[in-house]
Amino acid sequence: MDLTTLVLFQLLNGLVWGLVIALIALGLALIFGIMEVINVAHGSLYMLGAVLAWYVFGVTESFAAAVLIAPVAVGALSMGMERVVLRPVENEKVLTIIATTGVMLVLQHSVLATFGGAVQRVPSPLPGAVKILGIHYPVYRLAVAAASVAAIAALWLFLSRTRYGLWLRAVRQDGKMATALGIPVGRVYMLAVGLGGLLAGLGGVLAAPIVVVQYQMGFDILATVFIVVVIGGFGSLFGAAATAVLLGMTEGLITVVATPTWARITSLAIMGAILLARPDGIFRRRAIAR
């Protein structure tokens, strides 16, 4: 492979991966934007999506079934988590971080107990490659990109066109005002966490045939998603999605000259540097004006 082809190939890889990250990060940003909760279990939800996809595929031999079932199951589980674990402590933000840490432990080790510690693979549902921009590129990855874009578009439509979407945005703007207007804030929270879980689960299903399925895969993604959400501007959905794609492509580019691990480290370092260069604008708590 000559250099141009390699660069193109890695850029495409980065784009695809960035879009998957965007899905997961959108889920985290949604939950953060609406409830100011940092969901430490978010990586585990992604992992759960991939593991469930492996199971469903094993039983039904149908990847489509996995795409339909796994994210919904993860979303439903997340709604349960909101109701049972987060609801009692939602006013204490530090406690929610710790509570979701507990959820992460339970999820991760439950999967270890049932699924095992071994690495599993989900075969690509769309084998083969197509010629695009002069290179042969796996069809499935292109499908992943398309599916991610479609899911993001669907989320956008949901938020902008439906009543529940309107409620979500209202609570996000001003929780107290929303309560005063009669919006059922509790249900909105549950919906937000459910949607967030659904997106993480979908990310997991889509990633399953690309990466290896393993009970610790949630850890690897967690820092990336966290930092994407922070740089994107804590709860800004557009910011999170854009940052994710940029991060993915940066990492892809670095992979041309370095190992994937070094690419990950370098991209995290770059993101860290961006954070430090703009601590005030992006995430520094502002001095109270009056």
């Binding site: 840490t101 507990g102 432990l105 080790h109 691990t261 480290i265």
Partner: protein
């Protein structure tokens, strides 16, 4: 008085323990020290770090490298552990204390994940998951009774723990400790009383990392082996869990929490393989049912 009795009991305890018991107790002392160090940051100063594994692991590796490449002396190794962890905490803290609450959690977890990735990728330096062997050493300048025996491990870990406890208790009642607690309670108040809050948060973070690194050093010299998994997020999370269970409001609380959880996991490991599941459930229950406890316990610093 009570303290004296407890200390005496701990000194005499090995007589009642078999080899495994002594080794396990040394292990508990090590993690108890780590949890107490973590709590300077969390309980005393109010910063929830999710990255303390990095300091523990850098201490463990610092000790190992010192012995492998410098001097075969366990005390030099411990000093190297503190130096390594302090240096890392100074660097990480420089950035991390610029932000608070959520962002602080994210920055610390990100730093520690970068280090985890590095540790796993640099197998020829860290040994990866297989790790590095820490050569068996004698207690005094590398000679004398070997650290590899559980009894010596027990007393070394206990001695370091006791010394650290006395110093930390002193810190908690000192003028500096008062400033840390004020920063935790009200950043505004501390500022208006003339303290540069960021600098004190940094100092607390570095002290906390140093103690965690010291614990890592004890781990290395008593385990005869260190590996890259010490950088794992679970090690960071353990500190949080132990501290919450034992109580963030006192010097000893986190140590007690570590002892309780480790003993519990050991006790149930016969019939529950996946002990992290009950620990996770316990964590959730604590947060839900004793949330006042969590902030309320901070009151009892003096009483500890």
């Amino acid at each position: 008085m009570t303290a004296g009795v407890v200390l005496l009991a701990l000194v005499l305890l090995p007589a009642a323990l078999n080899r495994f018991g002594r080794f396990f107790a040394a292990e508990i002392f090590t993690w108890a020290l780590y949890a107490m160090g973590f709590n300077i940051c969390f309980g005393m100063t109010g910063m929830l770090s999710f990255g303390h594994a990095a300091f523990f692991a850098s201490g463990a590796y610092g000790a190992t490298f010192a012995v492998l490449y410098l001097v075969r002396d366990p005390w030099v190794a411990l000093a190297a552990a503190v130096v390594a962890a302090t240096a890392l905490a100074t660097l990480v803290g420089f950035f991390a204390v610029r932000v608070v609450s959520h962002s602080f959690v994210i920055i610390t977890i990100t730093f520690s994940l970068v280090l985890l990735l590095l540790a796993h990728s640099q197998k020829d330096v860290t040994g990866g998951d297989d790790g590095l062997l820490f050569p068996p050493l004698g207690l005094v300048a590398g000679a004398g009774p070997s650290l590899a025996t559980p009894l010596v491990s027990y007393y070394v870990a206990l001695a370091v723990l006791v010394v650290a406890y006395v110093l930390l208790r002193r810190l908690s009642r000192s003028p500096l400790g008062l400033v840390f607690q004020a920063v935790r309670d009200s950043e505004r108040r501390a500022t208006l009383a003339g303290y540069d809050v960021q600098r004190y948060r940094w100092l607390a973070f570095v002290l906390s990392g140093s103690v965690a690194g010291l614990a890592g050093g004890v781990y290395a010299i008593t385990h005869a082996q260190v590996n890259a998994q010490l950088f794992d997020v679970t090690v960071s999370v353990d500190a949080v869990i132990w501290t919450l269970i034992g109580g963030a409001g006192s010097v000893l609380g986190p140590a007690v929490g570590a002892a309780l959880v480790l003993a519990f996991t050991h006790a149930v490991s016969g019939w529950i393989v996946y002990t992290q599941i009950p620990v996770g459930i316990l964590l959730i229950l604590i947060v839900i049912f004793w949330p006042r406890g969590l902030s309320g316990v901070w009151r009892s610093w003096q009483a500890s």
